[in-house]
Assembly symmetry: D3
Homo-oligomer: 170 residues x 6
Amino acid sequence: MRALIVGRFQPFHNGHFEIIKTVLERNSSVIIGIGSAQYSHTLKDPFTAGERHLMISETLEEAKISNFYLVPIEDVNSNPLWVAHVEALTPRFDIVYTNNSLVKRLFKEKNYKVESLKLLNRSDWSGTRIRERIMKGENWEQYVPEPVARIIKEIDGPQRIRDLSVSDGD
Amino acid sequence: MRALIVGRFQPFHNGHFEIIKTVLERNSSVIIGIGSAQYSHTLKDPFTAGERHLMISETLEEAKISNFYLVPIEDVNSNPLWVAHVEALTPRFDIVYTNNSLVKRLFKEKNYKVESLKLLNRSDWSGTRIRERIMKGENWEQYVPEPVARIIKEIDGPQRIRDLSVSDGD
Amino acid sequence: MRALIVGRFQPFHNGHFEIIKTVLERNSSVIIGIGSAQYSHTLKDPFTAGERHLMISETLEEAKISNFYLVPIEDVNSNPLWVAHVEALTPRFDIVYTNNSLVKRLFKEKNYKVESLKLLNRSDWSGTRIRERIMKGENWEQYVPEPVARIIKEIDGPQRIRDLSVSDGD
Amino acid sequence: MRALIVGRFQPFHNGHFEIIKTVLERNSSVIIGIGSAQYSHTLKDPFTAGERHLMISETLEEAKISNFYLVPIEDVNSNPLWVAHVEALTPRFDIVYTNNSLVKRLFKEKNYKVESLKLLNRSDWSGTRIRERIMKGENWEQYVPEPVARIIKEIDGPQRIRDLSVSDGD
Amino acid sequence: MRALIVGRFQPFHNGHFEIIKTVLERNSSVIIGIGSAQYSHTLKDPFTAGERHLMISETLEEAKISNFYLVPIEDVNSNPLWVAHVEALTPRFDIVYTNNSLVKRLFKEKNYKVESLKLLNRSDWSGTRIRERIMKGENWEQYVPEPVARIIKEIDGPQRIRDLSVSDGD
Amino acid sequence: MRALIVGRFQPFHNGHFEIIKTVLERNSSVIIGIGSAQYSHTLKDPFTAGERHLMISETLEEAKISNFYLVPIEDVNSNPLWVAHVEALTPRFDIVYTNNSLVKRLFKEKNYKVESLKLLNRSDWSGTRIRERIMKGENWEQYVPEPVARIIKEIDGPQRIRDLSVSDGD
């Protein structure tokens, strides 16, 4: 069985990593869709698709995981086209794992098998929470895999997030 | 005279139906533009353009009304193009009925005759209010024409709306 | 059974009309998709979606046919999204009639029942051939339903086509 | 040195004008990018790109300033493409002046020299504040250059803004 | 009277310059729309909108002409929206000068006054012909205003055109 | 050094595979961009991005190659944005290998190091030629890696190509 999971991964954190490992216990391979791929440089979506691609592939490679397909997926501006868009960009899959209510609904309506996964440690392993910690200069490295922390620093990510948090006049 | 009315019709309700009947008392035919046609599967816009097309045409057909043109109209991402976009998609029209301030303004600037219509029973006959009632499992069927209630149930609409109302982590 | 047929209808001609009548002998209603809806004012696609909407609805109305749904369908710039795009814009359908090889293939891959229809009088009842006749000032009215000829003249269609056929410098 | 400044100029006000004069004291010419060019007819973005083009060019012409390039710049729906988009639309430039945190960040990442300018009289010389004053019928003319006030009146701008401020049902 | 002329200006040549001078004899100012603004780096459209902006403004400035507005205009993928798109991007205009049959037709249908201008020396003052000469290494400088020749060389235009003319495998 | 190569891979053939192996002899890893990702179901671009993703990853996996990043890249409708688009979607790279004249030119203008690679056996190892062979029912399997031939058959590729080669009326 080939599984699909889709997330924004802003950034890829320990909770995402646990989910992928769980999915791979139950399936022979996993397609990881990097959603909202065209967005970056905002407080909600600070990292480019390429930066997220690197975070995920380095993490999995260091963990000796190789049975995955990594696919950036740009948003299409119309929900009823989204499943067909994902299908066009990815190898075929048999099951979808997601905790997103819209993704769940859209795949169900196209007759896909959809399952939820229990999110672990949800207050700390949360993209929103981690971006806040980075912005405020709090400790955040422990909530993401080591390669992710390294890449965020290499690309000067904390400064990018702080720069973007300044509000402006017009 | 051929009239134009444009709405999102999420869903088509009794207030919309009354407006169309009033417009047809004063004009020989009406073009009904289904606005924001590309959107669906959100709490604000749960139904697809095709589902809304069916709601409206079944209602009018059962009411023996046939002098209408039904036209889905996708949003264009630029207000000053919108009137030309509507003109390209529809047969020519002589007058526009709308209570939307933007639509009113855009057509006026292109020298169209624009009229408002008194909305009846506005607290109950409101798309926002009806979607809320569906989401909360309250009574809603009485505020929409019978064929609309039937179609919403056939497409499992209440479940779709409830599914979409769950909030997620990241 | 509800059937779907999709065409560009540039313009709607006798061959299209015969196909619709044949489809309605075998099905309870038909959805007529006006394809490439956003295009007009070229030699290949001279008429707007609104003009084509009017051609078809006037023809069917005068023929006392009312069990049809008319839906303009803009091209999406990606074939694998096209079937989902059509599904979002139209009421549900059970069978697709088309002689277009791409449309046939795309619907087949999504497991739709697809049938071809014999085109009658193909040398004269051809959009390409009729546009050529209009451009050259040859007789063309006999190849389209009477309301279509009337509408093309009302909108000054022959002059539009001749104007567009002039080639320019840069 | 050729400088770039980008703003939405909704409308062009005295603060913008002061900035341009300061930039021209330090550079031989300035490219003025009219950002979010495709938007208009909303409370945040009431004026079209063409109207803003006229406001700026009339003001500079009356002030005998001619060493400027005026370029409307539509938003692209992806931040990492924005600098390349600006580069494609404008003559080459050596330095960017901006107080917008996103613009600053994006140009910095592409290795441009970026400088801030002190905004003067920020409570009154503010697009947001001036649009509010127009909407409420308060005095606003003194906060914009004289040609801008004249153009806003010619295009019936205050009525447009008031019309757009009405809220609607659905 | 304010006039509009729209062209691709690939590149801006003597024929374009003559037209502008003629238009300014008959009107108080001219809006110069740089069409197909988003395209560049093809054999048909080698120069970016910014490069073309510079070619035109330098030429007019050196000729002491200042009563012009220069506006890049991206193509919209739908002819019936194009006039509204131009109207949104430009100051208001009273008359359109064009030799392009589509542009002529579209403005006429929106009730604009449209005039043609006799093209002079059409075999040499032709964008197509000049691009060919550049590609083949023939003499081309004499067919464009002096500032245009200078800019094309500064941006290494002849090499760009030659590079793009190589055909590839797949 | 991380290298980038971009191709349409319609389909991925022996020539592409040789190039990747050569690139990996000279670099520590390679990003493989699947260009024109949104296109499929035409004679020139029969396969979806997902199908091409699978062809490439299966081939490399069976060859025990793992130091690659596979990234679908949709066309953007503007050449000067294309390099920024690629940069946003991919991990950073140091060198670009390409035989496409436009790609070469665009990266050079952004100061990338660009190199060509000798294409081997160009008459047989050609996407165009292989698609023709599939369409005509000629022998084609020997020109693509074994996993590619297997996948093309699994997805019924030859029938798709033959279906799409039928020409239609209008």
